[in-house]
Amino acid sequence: MLDIQKIKADFPIFAHHPELVYLDNAATSHKPQAVLDTLLNFYSSDNSNVHRGIYELSERASQAYEAARARVAEFIGAATSQEIVFTKGTTDSLNLIAQSYALSKLQKGDEVLVTDFEHHSNLLPWRVVCQQTGALLKVLHSQTDGQISQSEWQNQLSSKTKIVAIAHASNVLGMINDIKQIAKLTHQAGALLVVDGAQAVPHLAVNVQDLDCDFYVFSGHKMLGPMGIGVLYAKQDILEEMPPYQVGGGMIESVTSEEVIYDVVPNKFEAGTPNVAGAIALASAMDYLREIGMDEIRAHEISLSKHLLTGLSSIKSVKLLGDAVAVQRSGLVSFFVDGVHAHDLSDYLAKQQIALRAGFHCAMPLHQDRACPATLRASYYLYNQLSDIDSLLVNLQKAIAYYG
């Protein structure tokens, strides 16, 4: 059992907003004091650029940056820290894979497979690179619970498939996908698997070697870290084959007027001054999560999901988007209310200090396919309590009565 009061005390946002019921963690999480201290300490006492100077401060910053890379590698079970590229976030990581790996490999006649529940950032980079190369982008259609049926896989996956890109956990339907099984299917077809872990890494223990995915990406800000730092994991042999994404300083071994020799991985993919403070603070967020325990957090979120699903099922006009049960979910539920607009509901809830997301959650095609209006999404994390869910349920019923 988590001691929520103790955890909450680590997050200054709740001291500034004691009444806040924050249920928008799938959009971004709050930051514990330890992470904020790390940022401030870096800029106050260790600030300097990395991989450049030979003076003490610069060496200290470089060491801290590389130590952060090693801690990230350990957190997600990568074989070596060379497999970790720091990026701006999930979107940046996915664009990097599309514009470096995919652009150099895809040809006319090749196929890329995505699902119908992807976030726009795991859809649009593939659409663009398919337009650039003449490859075909195909969409796997999910069942109501968000699972892709065996026959859908068989129909869509073939020797033409070169890349399969899928969310580890859906940011709308909430279900966790069986990545290990999907990696097997993908590799049997001779394709590579790209996994969007933005909604998974903050909530579950992830081991990329166990999953056997080829690429795995996520953002720091959804897992207690700062905004503007994210991770691209790729198997080392794949990463070494890939051409640089952006070019400039910090990623070359030598430049003459005739030729350029690029630095080794992962530096080859980190052109320009990286977000050093962000990387170090992300590692400190991971330390914080590890200390609480990822399994403890997971168990806590399952109990919140159960409570919310039970409560919502007793309100007649509420319809769920995706019918995954609590243990299949990563810590969020999306729903809508027959006859009352999602924006009106969230407006009403906002006045009671309940923050949740209303809209399409960057997944417009999914809402279209399921003929569904804008939805509300409640997403929770380690600092949420059962009373937060109760407060949502009580006020939701009041809002429905008000507008109904």
Binding site: H341, H343, H367, P373, Y403
Partner: protein
């Protein structure tokens, strides 16, 4: 104050005067709110440069619906030019609610539809 105004507007929300369709409009136009998918269908009946009749239809939130009803109430009987000069400032004064930036976009859906419809009409 906001609560009082909200309950006044609730009367409009539950029984809007100008919701429905016109079967032979001079011009009609559909406008989607990209943020939430709300779809507003606007119908105008214009004779001798005067807006004789106006209706709106579609699935909308409280703010969009109430705004649409209030705006149409204003412009019926006006000339095309008078209606075209209806702007955000006038709209917000009419609604008289404390709206957040994202909800202002809900309110202005009708105004954008109206401007586009009148521009299309004038260009014919």
């Amino acid at each position: 104050m906001d609560e009082l105004r909200r309950s006044e507007l609730m009367e409009i929300y539950k029984d809007p005067s100008h919701k429905g369709k016109l079967f032979n409009p001079s011009i009609s136009l559909q406008k989607q709110h990209i943020f939430c998918g709300d779809n507003l269908h606007l119908f105008l009946q214009i004779e001798n440069n005067i807006i004789k009749q106006a209706k709106f239809d579609g699935e909308m939130c409280f703010v969009s619906l109430v705004s649409a009803d209030l705006v149409l109430e204003q412009i019926i009987g006006q000339t095309v030019q008078q209606a075209r000069s209806f702007n955000q400032e006038k709209l917000l004064a009419l609604i008289d609610l404390n709206l957040s930036t994202s909800r202002i976009a809900c309110a202005t859906l009708i105004m954008k539809a109206l401007h586009e419809a009148l521009d299309n009409y004038s260009q014919r």
